[in-house]
Amino acid sequence: MNTNPEDQTRGDSTPFFHGDEPAPLSCNETASLCMKAARGAGMSWGMAEEAGFASAWLVAHCIDGPSCLYAHLERADGKVWGDLCPTITPTSWRNTADHAICPIILGATICDYADLPEGPRPDTTIQLGRVSMPILLVPFLAVLARKNALGITLKWADSSICINHDETWLEAAARHLTVQQLDLTLSVKAGQVQKANNQTALKSRTTAGTIAALNTLAMRTTVPASDASRSSAGSTLSDND
């Protein structure tokens, strides 16, 4: 990989942030980089798309999703599915070996089970157990709360937040859930139908360090150059005409 900062010949410009420079990414760039990094860290393509969704949702809501995702991927890198996924029973979704669950897998699976008896239906309480970087769970719960008109409460130790129609919870979520892991319980009540919120307000910036770290994971999905790949990439005729 050519990391020369003057190299203009690569398909993205994110490696060109330096040091403490603010590093604003668009939501599209966030989703794309985070999906590739998640894939590079071992997620299936479909789950990596979920990682891209969650990170971009957080950026659109002024939370540094890419840094949160990297913090999780760094710890999950190389772990097998069984160590990262929930084991679903009617009251508990704890991982079989009580490992910290991947918040992307958990969030996507909660949405998959949204309309099933084992899932987050009104008046249910589910022990989630330990969840890695739990802020990454929030985008899934927020989308689900809106879609199924639910109030979803996350409880841990002696504290909780309720994801509902009143969006003041987001600031509290950012403050309390941006941590390595929490032992969580999820409880669900029927709520009000929520209005779609406007995401065009201030977007989060991330850091040059996070972008570099995610790029390192993302580069695992790429193939080193060969003469064959270079020669077949472009036109076989001159462009200078």
């Binding site: 690569r10 299936s44 999905t221 790429t222 790949s229 200078n240």
Partner: protein, 558 residues
């Protein structure tokens, strides 16, 4: 409202072509632009909304180096193309995404740029991928001169004469763009943040506006350089000559994954066009004005086919087919009985049984052209809210998933993926340049890093798993046990409600032609001539024959 709701009557529905016919690669690779192409939608919008267009800044020296600003104003909004003109040595000119310098670079600014904005953009836009733009910018683009024609036109105008018509026709543009980036790339505004604006709700409108204004810039810069060279004796381009010029574009493999990665969007493009064709076929009578207009657009298509040049053997054959088919259509129109019931459907049925794919798709474009009032509303349904289709329906039973697979993916399940010719290629991203490439599985390294482009094989693998899985279980349980199928399951559920979402072909087959994917997308942009430069690289011309900013309000039809 989705297009499917508009398609109310069984009357129209029975004239819709099925996906099994429309979504084959060979037919997609014969696509022609229509009045629903994105540049046509832009031009109609610009005319109907009475936008004012001017050039408030022109700061370019005698060598053609400097910058200019093109401003497009309505009562509510301003968009400004900021153009930077450079002096590029010939040896640095390449159309590849890996080029490092260009003859001109551009950004479409959301509003009117201040001098501070221009200074910031001057430090970034000329460097393209090595710079950053901001949410105030909507696109980032660059263009190279057609060296031969550019020099010829500057020389001719500077000497007080018009350029040679045969030289103009042989190239067709003064500059060609080698990338036009939008949708949040390199820090630009996200599509989601601007898609609600009526003038930008159709696909690729900021990109089309950028290219249309670049076209004006290409003429301004040759006339400027001719004046600098020839002084008082220099002349400007004749209006008709100027109008024949388009903007060239070089496109490589990067465009192919887009088609595959945006299934809902692809569906909406195809559905709008197919609904338009069905509405025309369903007309019980032909209006005399429409028949007259059909003859006019056929004559234009004949001229276009004569002017269209390519050396690529695949395209040479397709051009022969097209020219022969347009002759056949001419013969048919001379004797056609427009008094029959559903004459447009009669004409279409004749074409289906007589013409090659090239001719059939050209006939489609011709038949849509005289029917603006009947079909132009479909342009409002070609965008897509992809986020709304992202969530998987985990409550669907595995039995239902299997049934969708069998009903909608028969074309994929029939492919034998154990044979070398059916798995000959693999799509990957190059580490060196981060661009999509296509490798040969038998001879190149890297197949373990294959991108999920071959939907047919992913779906066949899902089907194999589903056959052995408890059919009473929900999809949510299947995905917890088999997370590797999440990508394919999402596709299958999308296809259940979007029948034109998938390309019905094997995208890793030995004989697959990437230029077929490129041509389909470029036809939707509105390209009228396609010149493949290899099996994965194509040049086109955009906006040739279209009005310039000063002319648009006087146009009778667009």
């Amino acid at each position: 409202m989705p297009v499917s709701k508009l398609n109310k009557t069984a009357e129209v529905r029975r004239f819709m072509r099925p996906a099994s016919e429309v979504m084959r690669l060979e037919r997609m690779g014969s696509s022609h632009p229509t009045r629903l192409s994105f540049l046509r939608i832009l031009l109609r919008r610009l005319k109907s909304s009475d936008w004012q267009i001017d050039r408030p800044v022109w700061n370019v020296d005698a060598k053609g180096v400097g910058h200019g600003v093109y401003r497009v104003r309505s009562d509510e909004r301003i968009y400004s193309l900021v153009a930077f003109a450079h002096d590029l040595p010939d040896e640095m000119r390449s159309d590849r995404v890996i080029a490092t310098a260009w003859d001109a670079t551009f950004t479409l600014f959301d509003g009117e740029p201040t001098p501070d904005d221009i200074a910031r953009l001057a430090k970034n836009v000329p460097f393209q991928e090595a710079g950053r733009i901001s949410p105030k910018e909507l696109t980032l683009a660059r263009a190279n001169r057609s060296v031969r024609l550019f020099k010829h036109v500057v020389d001719a105008l500077s000497e007080g004469r018009q350029p040679d018509a045969s030289e103009m026709n042989a190239v067709g543009y003064l500059m060609r763009t080698t990338a036009v980036y939008g949708s949040g790339k390199f820090g630009a505004s996200d599509r989601e943040d601007i898609a609600q604006r009526p003038e930008l709700s159709a696909p690729f409108q900021v990109e089309m506006l950028t290219v249309w204004l670049i076209r004006a810039f290409t003429v301004d810069i040759v006339e400027h350089m001719a004046a600098a060279k020839g002084g008082a004796g220099a002349v400007k381009l004749d209006r008709d000559t100027r109008r024949s010029l388009g903007v060239g574009n070089s496109t490589g493999l990067g465009m192919a994954p887009f088609i595959v990665r945006h299934p809902v969007l692809l569906n909406n493009w195809m559905l709008a066009r197919e609904e338009a064709l069905a509405r025309v076929r369903a007309q019980t009578v032909a209006e005399p004005d429409a028949v007259l207009a059909l003859n006019d657009v056929h004559a234009s298509a004949m001229q276009n086919a004569v002017a269209w040049r390519s050396e690529h053997p695949v395209q040479v054959k397709k051009l022969q087919d097209l020219r022969r088919d347009l002759d056949l259509i001419a013969d048919q129109l001379e004797t056609f009985d427009w008094a029959v019931t559903r004459p447009w459907n009669e004409l279409w049925s004749w074409g289906e049984s007589t013409l090659t794919f090239e001719g059939q798709e050209a006939l489609l474009a011709l038949m849509l052209e005289p029917h603006g009032p009947l079909i132009d509303d479909l342009a409002d349904h070609m965008g897509a809210d992809e986020a709304a289709c992202f969530r998987i329906d985990g409550a669907m039973s595995v039995a239902d998933l299997r049934s969708v697979l069998e009903q909608s993916y028969g074309w994929a399940l029939e492919i034998d993926f154990t044979t070398p010719e059916n798995t000959a290629r693999f799509w990957y991203v190059s580490e060196e340049k981060l661009e999509p490439r296509l490798g040969e599985r038998a001879t190149e390294e890297g197949a373990s890093l294959e991108q999920p482009m071959c939907i047919a094989r992913l779906v066949a693998e899902l089907y194999a798993t589903v056959q052995d899985y408890d059919h009473t279980k929900p999809v949510a349980a299947l995905l917890l046990a088999h997370p590797e199928h999440r990508y394919a399951v999402r596709r299958v559920q999308i296809t259940k409600n979007h029948s034109y979402a998938e390309v019905h072909d094997n995208l890793i087959a030995a004989d697959m032609l990437p230029i077929d994917l490129l041509r389909c997308k470029l036809a939707y942009f509105g390209a009228s001539q396609f010149d493949p430069r290899s099996d994965r690289w194509v040049r086109i011309n955009l906006f040739a024959g279209a009005p310039f900013p000063g002319d648009i309000n006087a146009e009778s039809t667009l």
